[in-house]
C-alpha cells in the first residue's frame, strides 16, 4: 500500500529522509476548535517546518450515543435520530433506514412515493454538494463562493421546508410513505431551482473551480490511488474521484432510480480535466458534475411524478415488524450508507447499526496526507467532505 502511494507519478509530495537529520519536529493540535476541521475533529499533526510528517485523528468529540437511542425508541421515533447522523444530508440518511424497515416489515410502497423520495434525495444531494464545494473553497481562503452557493442552498432548503416543515432535519420519510402531502407548486419550484443552480454553478466555475490559484492549491494534492481507495472501502465522490466507477444508484438500483437516466461522473486516469485522477481537485470536480446529474434526475422526476394519488396513504396505522434482520444500503451524498437492523418482533428494534460513510472515508486521511504541507492537509480534509455527526455517531 505504501508503495502505491510512493510510486504515483506527478506527485507534489515532498520526500525527506528523516534518518539523515536530527531535527526537532513540532506537534500541533488542529482542533477540536479550528476554523476548518469541519466540526470537532481533532488532528494531532507532527510538523517538520511546514511539512506534515505524521497525523493522528482523534475522534469522539461528537459521540451522541445513536445506537443506544435506537434501542430505546420504536421504529418511527428512530427517524429523527437518523436525521442527525449526517445532518447536512438528512433526507439521504432517512432513505436507507426507511427502506430497511420496509424490507423487514414487508411494506409495498407506491410508485409516486418512490419517485418523490428520489427527488427529495436529489434536492438534498445538491444542497449537500453546494455546501461541500463552498466549504472546500473556504478552506482555500475564498469566502465569496461560500455565500454565492449558500444562496442556491437556501432555495433547496426552502423546497424541502415547504414539503416537510423543517429546514435542516426533516423527519419526512417514514415506513410506507412520506409524512406530508406534496404542496401544489412543488414541480414549479423544482424547475426554478434547477435553473438557478445551473446558473450558479456556471458562475462558480469561473470564480473558483477553474481559477488558477485554486487549481494550483488542489491539483496533485492528496493523491488517493485506485487500489488504496478500494482497500479502504471508500465510496462516494472520494472513490469516484479516484476512478472507481461505483454508485449504488446504478450498480444496485433501489427505490425508483432505475427509471431515471443519468450518468455517474468518474475521474478516470487519463481522462482528467485538470490535475490527476485521485487528487483533491478531482474529488471536488466529481461533486460539481454530480450536481448537474442530480439536476437531470430532477428534470425527469418532474415529468415522471404522477399528479394523482396520495403519498401518505401507504403508511400503516400500526407498524408491525416481524423478527429478523436486514441490511439496506443507499447512496448517501458522501458514499454508501447502510443500516443493519435486527428486530425481535417487538415495536422496538433489538439493534440498529449504521455503516457510516464519513467514518470510512476519514480513515484514508493519515495515509494520503503525509508529506504534504500543512495548508494542503486542510485542503485534503476539505476534499474528503466529512461530517462529524456521522463519524462519531
Amino acid at each position: 500500500m505504501e508503495n502505491n502511494l510512493e510510486n504515483t507519478t506527478n506527485n507534489n509530495k515532498i520526500n525527506i529522509e528523516y534518518s539523515q537529520f536530527d531535527s526537532e519536529r513540532m506537534r500541533l493540535n488542529a482542533g477540536p476548535q479550528h476554523p476548518s476541521t469541519h466540526g470537532v475533529l481533532r488532528l494531532e499533526v507532527e510538523l517538520d517546518g511546514e511539512i506534515v510528517t505524521d497525523i493522528i485523528p482523534h475522534l469522539g468529540y461528537l459521540h451522541r450515543c445513536f445506537e443506544k437511542h435506537c434501542e430505546n425508541s420504536n421504529y418511527n421515533q428512530i427517524v429523527p435520530f437518523v436525521d442527525r447522523l449526517d445532518y447536512v444530508s438528512a433526507i439521504n440518511n432517512e432513505f436507507p433506514y426507511v427502506m430497511a424497515v420496509e424490507k423487514l416489515a414487508g411494506i409495498e410502497v407506491s410508485e409516486k412515493v418512490q419517485i418523490l423520495r428520489a427527488m427529495c434525495a436529489e434536492i438534498n444531494r445538491i444542497a449537500n454538494h453546494l455546501l461541500a464545494i463552498s466549504a472546500f473553497g473556504l478552506d482555500s481562503g475564498a469566502f465569496t463562493p461560500l455565500l454565492f452557493l449558500f444562496r442556491e442552498r437556501e432555495f433547496a432548503l426552502g423546497i424541502l421546508e415547504k414539503l416537510s416543515g423543517a429546514r435542516l432535519l426533516y423527519n419526512y420519510f417514514c415506513p410506507g410513505g412520506v409524512r406530508y402531502e406534496i404542496y401544489s407548486d412543488f414541480k414549479k419550484d423544482v424547475k426554478v431551482f434547477i435553473d438557478s443552480v445551473r446558473l450558479a454553478m456556471k458562475e462558480m466555475e469561473d470564480l473558483l473551480i477553474f481559477n488558477d490559484i485554486f487549481i494550483k492549491r488542489t491539483e496533485k494534492i492528496g493523491l488517493l490511488p485506485k487500489e488504496v481507495a478500494i482497500n479502504f472501502a471508500c465510496s462516494g465522490p472520494v472513490a469516484r474521484g479516484s476512478g472507481i466507477n461505483f454508485d449504488i444508484r446504478k450498480s444496485a438500483p433501489y427505490s425508483s432510480y432505475d427509471k431515471f437516466d443519468f450518468d455517474i461522473p468518474v475521474v478516470e486516469p487519463g481522462k482528467e480535466v485538470v490535475g490527476v485522477s485521485g487528487d483533491c481537485w478531482s474529488r471536488n470536480w466529481v461533486r460539481v458534475k454530480e450536481i448537474e446529474e442530480s439536476c437531470k434526475i430532477l428534470e425527469q422526476g418532474i415529468t415522471l411524478l404522477p399528479d394523482e394519488g396520495s403519498v401518505t396513504d401507504g403508511i400503516p396505522k400500526k407498524l408491525k415488524v416481524p423478527a429478523g434482520e436486514v441490511y439496506c444500503k443507499a447512496e448517501n451524498t458522501k458514499g454508501e450508507l447502510g443500516f443493519y437492523l435486527v428486530s425481535n418482533g417487538s415495536d422496538k428494534p433489538e439493534r440498529v447499526r449504521a455503516r457510516a460513510t464519513s467514518f470510512v472515508n476519514l480513515a484514508i486521511l493519515p495515509s494520503i496526507s503525509k508529506g504534504y504541507m500543512f495548508a494542503d492537509l486542510i485542503m485534503i480534509l476539505g476534499s474528503i467532505d466529512i461530517v462529524l455527526g456521522e463519524v462519531d455517531r
Partner: protein, 216 residues
C-alpha cells in the same frame, strides 16, 4: 520558456475572470431579507416561511382529550401530561370543542422546548389534532426555565381544587358504596330472617336486589 509565459498569462487571465464575476455581483440586487423589519411570514416568494413550518408547538386545550398519545409518540420525552378525571359533582360542566362531554381535566400539560426536537411526531399521533406546530419562533429567552411551557389552563390552586373535588366525589362514592353495602347486608340479613321465617323460594327477587345494590 513558452510554457512559463503561458502559465503566467493563464493565471493572470483566470484572476481577471474571477474579478469580473465579483464585479458583476457588486451591482446585483442583494438577496438579504432584513428580519426584524420584515417578518418571514410576510415575505414575498420563496423566502416566505411556509405555514406548515415546524416551530413552537401549540396545544389547543379545548380539543385535547388527554389521551397521552403524543407523550408516547415523542422520541425525546419532552411532553409531560397529567390528567384528572372530571368529577360528576363538579359544578363546571366542561365540553370539548366538538360538543362532546369532557372526561379528563388537563391538570398538567408541559412541553419542555429545551428538549423538544421539533420532529412533528406528536402532531401526527394526535387523534384530534389538538397539538400543532405554530409559526411562532421568536421565543428565545434569558432563562432556560422559561422554555418549559405550561399549556394547562389551570394554576396550582385550581388543580388542587379539582383534585379535591374529585377526591370528594370518590369519597362520597365510597361512602355511598359503603352505605349501600351495609344496606344490602342489612337487607340480606332481613331477607335471611324472612327466608327462615317463610320458607318459600324467593331466590329470584333477592338475587335481583343484590344485583341492583351492587350496581349502585
Amino acid at each position: 520558456m513558452i510554457n512559463y509565459l503561458k502559465n503566467i498569462i493563464k493565471g493572470f487571465s483566470t484572476i481577471l475572470v474571477g474579478m469580473k464575476v465579483t464585479f458583476i455581483n457588486l451591482f446585483r440586487p442583494n438577496v438579504t431579507v432584513q428580519y426584524p423589519n420584515v417578518h418571514p411570514l410576510v415575505r414575498a416568494g420563496s423566502d416566505k416561511m411556509p405555514d406548515n413550518a415546524r416551530n413552537k408547538l401549540n396545544v389547543i386545550i379545548p380539543k385535547c382529550t388527554g389521551c397521552k398519545s403524543c407523550e408516547k409518540a415523542c422520541p425525546v420525552n419532552c411532553i409531560t401530561i397529567e390528567t384528572t378525571k372530571v368529577a360528576s359533582i363538579d359544578t363546571e360542566k366542561p365540553l370539548m370543542e366538538d360538543g362532546k362531554k369532557r372526561v379528563f381535566w388537563l391538570s398538567q400539560f408541559d412541553i419542555d422546548f429545551a428538549k423538544c426536537c421539533f420532529c412533528g411526531l406528536c402532531t401526527i399521533a394526535c387523534p384530534t389534532s389538538a397539538i400543532v406546530h405554530s409559526t411562532d419562533f421568536e421565543y428565545s429567552c434569558y432563562d432556560r426555565n422559561e422554555l418549559l411551557v405550561h399549556f394547562s389552563p389551570f394554576n396550582k390552586e385550581q388543580v388542587a381544587e379539582k383534585k379535591r373535588i374529585l377526591a370528594e366525589e370518590v369519597k362520597q362514592k365510597a361512602e355511598k358504596a359503603l352505605a349501600d353495602k351495609q344496606a344490602a347486608e342489612k337487607a340480606a340479613q332481613e331477607q335471611n330472617i324472612t327466608d327462615s321465617k317463610i320458607k318459600s323460594s324467593d331466590d329470584q327477587t333477592s338475587a335481583n336486589q343484590n344485583i341492583q345494590n351492587n350496581s349502585n
